[in-house]
Symmetry: C2
Subunit: 467 residues, 2 copies
């Protein structure tokens, strides 16, 4: 039987010394490939150590692929030189994406990403520094599940000033992105409810409801927004809408439809409206309309907003405003959850807002996007594209719609554009179950487009859509 | 009918001018409390504006509580001076907690919180500064849903060096806290499965499964950990365990039970083990045992760990390691989710790890906690408490168990301690459905205890448990 001297070994656990000794003998060829290692009990007795020490050493060798186990027969030395690669790294490289959404495209109209020079790095760094200097004890104090109070105060103040909303900081719950908050809401409102999303709409929403395995209906839009009568027909309990600026059509829901929806909600028990105000700050023109939350007296509106559009997409902070009854339910049932946003970022953002820097930043952002939109539309008008497109929904947000009049099929246009490095997002992809309803209309998300290339892009887009 | 001159108004939307004019008249008493406002259509016609302008003005007045609506009758001026408070802020203050977990206790043994002087503020600040200077473009690039690659590489390297685990960065998914990751796992593994948690165990886990409305069984522990035969009896699909250091008993699962569990998992389709390695870095003595993940050849172990214990509880970064098959399923079904941890913190942590600072910090933490534990145990031994208590589970983590031999009821001891500002956590609270099994054993979470007060605390604890 193998034997090792396990006395006078200095520091480190006993099993590790044993594991190293055996491993060394395997590598040196002292113990051969295919050899059976001694059974644990007699080996332990022989070495004068506990069985657990031998077990641990074998487990480590097994983990590293030097030995393998044959049920009821024992442990054998592996052909480790040939097999370690597979054994140690069972994961096949290259089978899943690992790189970020940084696309190799020349012009990506399919998603929005904050241009890096637009983020206020200098001010943000300064605020972080101040927070790290001034608030050490607070930074280390576990926040309440809804978020640190100063941030919720800043948000309440902001909602009052910019959206005319009267909410208490206590009603605001902060979370790591709206997607996370949707998950919380499903837990709060119940997985036995029927949820509804807009058709067309943001496809991710239905995916999220699907992933939680809750019933989710697509409800058609008309020119004023989601159609209230379909909510009754489809027995919807909770409707998820983007009234300030519908994604992707850009429709702003008029007050009349807002009242209609509030009427629908107050008619049945457990009916709620999720008001997703995701980019209301980026309205470039047109009248602001009061939020549903602010004209709701039946406590049926859950207001949601995010900093991912206004600050940057890679700082993950969103929030929702719950009506009183839901808030109480939240505290009863879900307040055991820890917060999902780090204190460091919560305090930094709170201070950034308190000092008026968020307001300045949004104004800068709005100006930037207005100029960008204008320049892009100008590039369209200067190009040959002008003759074959019509534009709509350009008043708000970070996208507009572009109708291309072409005999080509949508797929053809997309693939021709793609071969030029231009990624298009057809509006039809935002429709559920009604293929062919819209054709050759594209959602032009322009935030990440390099304006220096605008003319060139339009030129190539034109080539993609003529025969 | 009311009339206003709405020409030559300068900037701002029309409805806002109208809203302000009416509001002013209400405040001035020109329009009296209880007065009915003109119907929208004739009023609009009279003013020469669109109905929508009137609607928006009324909506704003309604939102601010100056008017109220009577169904089918119209809008009336509120007794706003008496009612604005309630109408504008329907939320009743003081009904929900808003302050953090910062307890007013003198000694809180019920939870762990990183002492603020233990966090490496200077180094962390320096690393943040470097990241903000060097990585602007990366900071603004949307990360893949699993987290930025450099952080996943650092974690893989760390797992290799400190836990002997061979995992690819691709297998690692980063999220804002383990609680968030549990939610992802439920979506991934299915809500129709039977989950199991340890009894006794961390009560939050069962709450989370309950909140997702999935079947959750409590499975008894013996001296080696969770009892495998009960998993069969209770038809469990997924078992959630803390084998490196059971919370709260401190049991370390021996290799034999680990193999037994792996055997259980590989016997049935869809069986998985969630290995929660939440504080393995804080082992203070005793032999480290290989993780289940590293001795699993059937791809049935999901390994989880968190930085909330090792870095600080208010930086919300955790991760899990998925076996290949689950990883593919994750990318198929759930990769539409955006990440939940901000890029700023991901890049900071990656750099912090790369530069070896995490290792240094953990060593420092371990030393600090070892000294703290020793000093606390020393204080017990020096005090009269010594005669009436026995201690166990002090080798790892941030807590030990203290048995108090007293004729008093547990509730009595807790409430007497509480009146002295000492918050105790009875072990019985971690048991499900077996009241009275353990009595007067306390889980002593010591990380936030002020050691300067240790002798005094023991003195008072003693007083709380003698008749």
């Amino acid at each position: 039987m193998l034997t090792y001297n396990l006395t006078d070994l200095g520091s480190g656990p006993l099993y590790e010394h044993l594991y190293k000794s055996i491993k060394n003998d395997i590598i040196q060829g002292v113990i051969k490939i295919g050899d059976r290692l001694p059974s644990k009990r007699p080996f332990a007795k022989n070495l004068g150590v506990s069985v657990i020490t031998v077990e641990n050493a074998y487990a480590q060798l097994l983990a590293e692929g030097f030995i393998y186990s044959m049920p009821k027969r024992g442990f054998y030395v592996s052909d480790f030189e040939n097999t370690t690669e597979e054994k140690k790294v069972p994961f096949k490289k290259g089978t899943v994406p690992v790189i970020g959404e940084e696309s190799p495209c020349y012009a990506d109209f399919s998603s929005n990403q904050t241009p890096s020079d637009l983020f206020p790095f200098t001010i943000w760094s300064k605020v972080i520094r101040e927070v790290l200097n001034d608030s050490r004890a607070q930074l280390m104090t576990n926040p309440p599940c809804g978020g640190i109070f100063p941030l919720r105060e800043s948000i309440a103040k902001y909602l009052k000033e910019f959206r005319g909303m009267n909410v208490c900081p206590e009603q605001i719950l902060v979370g790591a992105g709206t997607e996370y908050l949707y998950g919380l809401l499903i837990q709060l409102l119940g997985s036995d409810k029927v949820y509804a999303v807009e058709n067309p709409g943001y496809p991710k929403l239905a995916k999220i409801y699907g992933s939680y395995r809750v019933a989710c209906e697509w409800v058609d839009m008309d020119g004023s927004g989601i159609r209230t009568e379909q909510l009754e027909e489809k027995k919807v309990d909770i409707v998820h809408i983007t009234p300030s600026h519908h994604y992707p059509t850009g429709i702003v829901m008029p007050v009349s439809r807002r009242y209609e929806l509030l009427g629908w909600a107050s008619k049945g028990d457990g009916r709620y409206i999720i008001e997703d105000d995701y980019d209301s700050e980026l309205r470039l023109s047109g009248q602001p309309i009061p939020t549903l939350q602010s004209i709701d007296i039946s406590e049926r509106v859950i207001y949601m907003n995010t900093f991912t559009k206004t600050l940057c997409s890679t700082v993950r902070i969103s929030y929702m405003v719950l009506p009183q009854e839901l808030l109480m339910r939240f505290y009863e049932r879900l307040s055991f959850y820890s917060g999902t946003v780090s204190n460091f970022e919560q305090y930094t953002l709170a201070r950034f807002m308190e000092e008026g820097k968020f307001e300045t930043h949004i104004n800068r952002l709005r100006n930037y996007y207005r100029l960008k939109r204008d320049a892009l539309l100008e590039a369209v008008h200067k190009s040959k594209l002008k003759a074959v497109v019509s534009i709509s929904g350009e008043e708000a947000g970070l996208h507009f719609l572009m109708d291309i009049h072409t005999p080509l099929e949508e797929e053809e246009v997309c693939s021709r554009a793609k071969s030029q490095g231009i990624q298009l997002a057809p509006l039809s992809k935002y429709y559920y179950g009604r293929p062919g309803q819209v054709k050759n209309t594209y959602v032009m998300n322009y935030s990440s487009i390099d304006m220096g290339k605008a003319d060139e892009i339009m030129e190539q887009l034109y080539k993609s859509c003529i025969e």
